[in-house]
Amino acid sequence: MKAKPHPLAIAVALLARAISGVEVRWAGCRPDARQRIYFANHASHLDFAVLWSALPPELRSRTRPVAAEDYWDRGLRAYFAQTVFHAVLVRRRAQEEQADEEALAESRKQIECLATAMGHADSLILFPEGTRGTGETIAPFRSGLYYLARRKPEVELVPAYLRDLSRILPKGEVLPVPLMSCVTFGEPLHFDGCETKAAFLDRARAAVQALSCRGPQ
């Protein structure tokens, strides 16, 4: 990963910040250069840019988004995902439950790919719902976060809640309404070796959900 972010990445981050008037709250941890996986709710195209811009500049160049290959592999999208933000592209499975041998092998390959991309110093931004929702509820998490946490147990898993970004730019809309938003970073989770997949994913989702209530102003 390069030491400096792409100039367009800085421009996108500034624009996203200006539109979303974002207030950043580090409620459960401080910004830190150690390896982390930031995972958050997802309902807007602004989500990644705002979350990324909420990090201090020195951390941004070491923090990469995880993006769906089937959506971010074409044309301008591919340029922004790959060249501008150095996204790690992963293949998402259409059906979470079809757990035949082939699918499992494929999943393992994707997790290896993420682990390799992280290396020893990079952090990731991941939206475990797998797709943008309506912003009203948080969808159940896909299992990628669990396998990645198990594969890299030393990494801190930082929950983040993005408030009101789905109202600023909902799915399917092109022009943003300039409301104000808020990013809250919660207390890091760690993978507890004997936890089941479902229990871990529930815990992770609850950690994001818990940050959604309006704190004292």
């Binding site: 109202r167 909902p170 309404v177 300039p178 409301l179 104000m180 309006r214 102003q217």
Partner: protein
């Protein structure tokens, strides 16, 4: 707005150059007075800081100092835009409208189906309202939001197809645009009144309105802090007391009456107009507090240090501006 810009410049051009050249010397004198008050306030604040004992007193003084720092900035912006002529004041109030509406709309729950309606309110209705002020089209200016936007907003939401909480959503957006845009736009609209014998001095009326509302806010706060015992509506606002209200309204009325020479009002008229402005300012503070309590927040935002959001600062002005405009128009415009 882009198409209208040359028209706006043309319509304001004459007034702007006239204003800039004459530079109403009275305004310089008035802002000199504001400067003196600010220096006095800062001096008192620093003095109190030295003598404050105890955590509670200290935090009150810190807040007071933060408020005073913000007052310096706000007065500087107000003075700067006023010396830029009508276009400056107009742009300032248009921006305040947008910022206030941003805070308001963030706080009220809107649904995905409201997105396009919100785009209309921010990017078309609001600039258009201020454009009408700029071209001095009074007849259109007074009905644009209460009649046209009022009907358009529910229509646009209906077109979105989302019916859940329909009336509530429409009403909340209508209320927001009325308070933050329509009511506030009456303040710069004072610049479009054609008062015989008072040409190109309308900025003084705007100065008068802003100073009386803000002074009454400050004095309500000061009297409330010093003498406040009996709360007016404790469930809506624990900090608003009868002592603060009466002290603030009476002193603001006196201050407004003392300023009668800069206005085209007669002394007694200036006094009761100030009384009206101070009373409506209090009403604005109370109504907007009720909205904040319902939403369970303390302030609308955090943009102005010590004060909260833009809407927390201008709530009194939003309520006082329409009445002041219409009274001034009734009394002064033949």
């Amino acid at each position: 707005m882009t198409a209208g810009w040359p028209m706006l410049k043309a319509s304001l051009g004459g007034a702007t150059t006239r204003f800039a050249r004459t530079h109403d010397p009275v305004l310089l004198f008035l802002f000199g007075g504001v400067l003196a008050i600010l220096i006095l306030a800062s001096a008192i604040g620093l003095l109190l800081q030295r003598t404050a004992i105890g955590d509670r007193a200290r935090s009150t003084i810190d807040n007071l100092l933060a408020r005073t720092r913000s007052w310096w900035k706000m007065c500087a912006i107000f003075a700067l835009t006023m010396f830029m002529g009508p276009a400056g004041s107009l742009l300032l109030f248009a921006l305040l409208s947008l910022l206030a509406m941003r805070e308001y709309m963030t706080l009220i729950p809107t649904r995905p189906g409201d997105h396009r309606t919100l785009l209309w309110t921010f990017f078309i209705i609001t600039p258009f309202q201020y454009y009408l002020v700029a071209i001095r089209w009074y007849g259109f200016f007074v009905i644009m939001i209460p009649a046209i936007a009022f009907l358009f907003i529910p229509l646009r939401i209906a077109v979105s197809g989302e019916t859940r909480h329909f009336l509530e959503r429409a009403a909340k957006i209508q209320f927001g645009i009325m308070i933050c845009v329509y009511c506030l736009s009456y303040a710069p609209a004072l610049l479009m009144l054609r008062i015989p014998g008072f040409e190109s001095r309308n900025a003084r009326l705007l100065f008068f309105l802003v100073v009386v509302t803000q002074i009454s806010d400050v004095l309500k706060y000061v009297f409330g802090k010093i003498f406040g015992r009996h709360r007016i509506v404790p469930r809506v606002s624990p900090s608003k007391t009868w002592e603060g209200f009466i002290g603030g309204v009476l002193t603001a009325t006196a201050a407004g009456a003392a300023l009668w020479r800069i206005t085209p009002f007669k002394p007694l008229e200036a006094a009761w107009v100030s009384l009206l402005v101070a009373l409506l300012g209090a009403a604005g503070g109370l109504v907007m507090s009720a909205i904040k309590r319902d939403a369970e927040v303390k302030d609308f935002g955090g943009m102005i240090e010590g004060h909260g959001g833009v809407l927390d600062r201008i709530d009194s002005l939003c309520f006082a501006a329409p009445a002041f405009f219409h009274v001034a128009r009734y009394l002064l415009v033949p």
